[in-house]
Symmetry: C2
Subunit: 149 residues, 2 copies
């Protein structure tokens, strides 16, 4: 298994609640890039409930967000250099059908288009073999003014 | 202060990670409806970080989600009857500018339009007096098939 994209971010930018390896309370979403698409799996915790039996939409939006940004970063990264940190300019999530709580979720993401410095990523989340959520992330390079600790 | 909309959902539908009063691990987002708009405040926890100093986008999307759905439910509720449970069909979030981590966030939400059974809600999240996030939630009545425990 490849090193997750999120483990290639600089240490100062690895605190993210969704995907930072340095956030002990976080979700630890891990994107694996195969050269064409980002892939991930995630099993929501019991508290990530919407109504009984189904996954909370905000958690699904979080998966779309971090997996989309990770895929954007990987898609523009240059082998041998550190992975650039992207952030989310906008996020769209369509809840196509309810997502059952319990089974492992499978995430795929790919570049839909690149517009200048923006990378538009499509994300799909599946459970039990069918797509439940389709999302889109517009990712942009992190502004330098956000890098101040 | 009025009773939060989310405290008026039926007990079976009060487990939501974002806003359920019966979810001890959840965020406990509470929407107050003044007859015209939904209002809420929320202070992210230190772990709700994106990069140092700023709030995680997935958490902001969760606030848009539950505050939007709560506002949708309140907007169609009939005095003296229980508040109907709405769910999210789609969610859109524009991160207009970074949201500082630390200050209390202020949320406003209102009905943008009603299309049949769908209620479209606009949500704004402000910090330190300026709008940081603008979101839109398309909320629909919870399908009966999701009500099975």
């Amino acid at each position: 298994m490849s090193t997750p994209v999120q483990h290639c971010y600089g240490n100062d930018f690895s605190h993210c609640y969704g995907c930072g390896k340095n956030n002990p309370a976080g979700l630890h979403i891990e994107t694996h890039w195969n050269g064409q698409e980002g892939q991930a799996v995630f099993t929501p915790r019991p508290e990530h409930i919407a109504v009984p039996g189904f996954v909370y939409g905000g958690l699904l939006a979080s998966l779309v967000d971090c997996h989309g940004v990770g895929t954007a970063a990987a898609s523009v990264s240059v082998p041998g250099q550190s992975v650039p940190r992207y952030v989310t300019a906008s996020l769209h999530v369509d809840f196509l059908r309810p997502t059952p709580l319990g089974p492992e979720l499978t995430l795929r993401a790919w570049v839909k288009e690149q517009r200048g410095r923006k990378v538009v990523i499509t994300v799909e989340i599946s459970a039990l073999g069918s797509v439940r959520v389709r999302g889109e992330v517009v990712a942009v390079p992190m502004p330098e003014t956000m890098g101040v600790e």
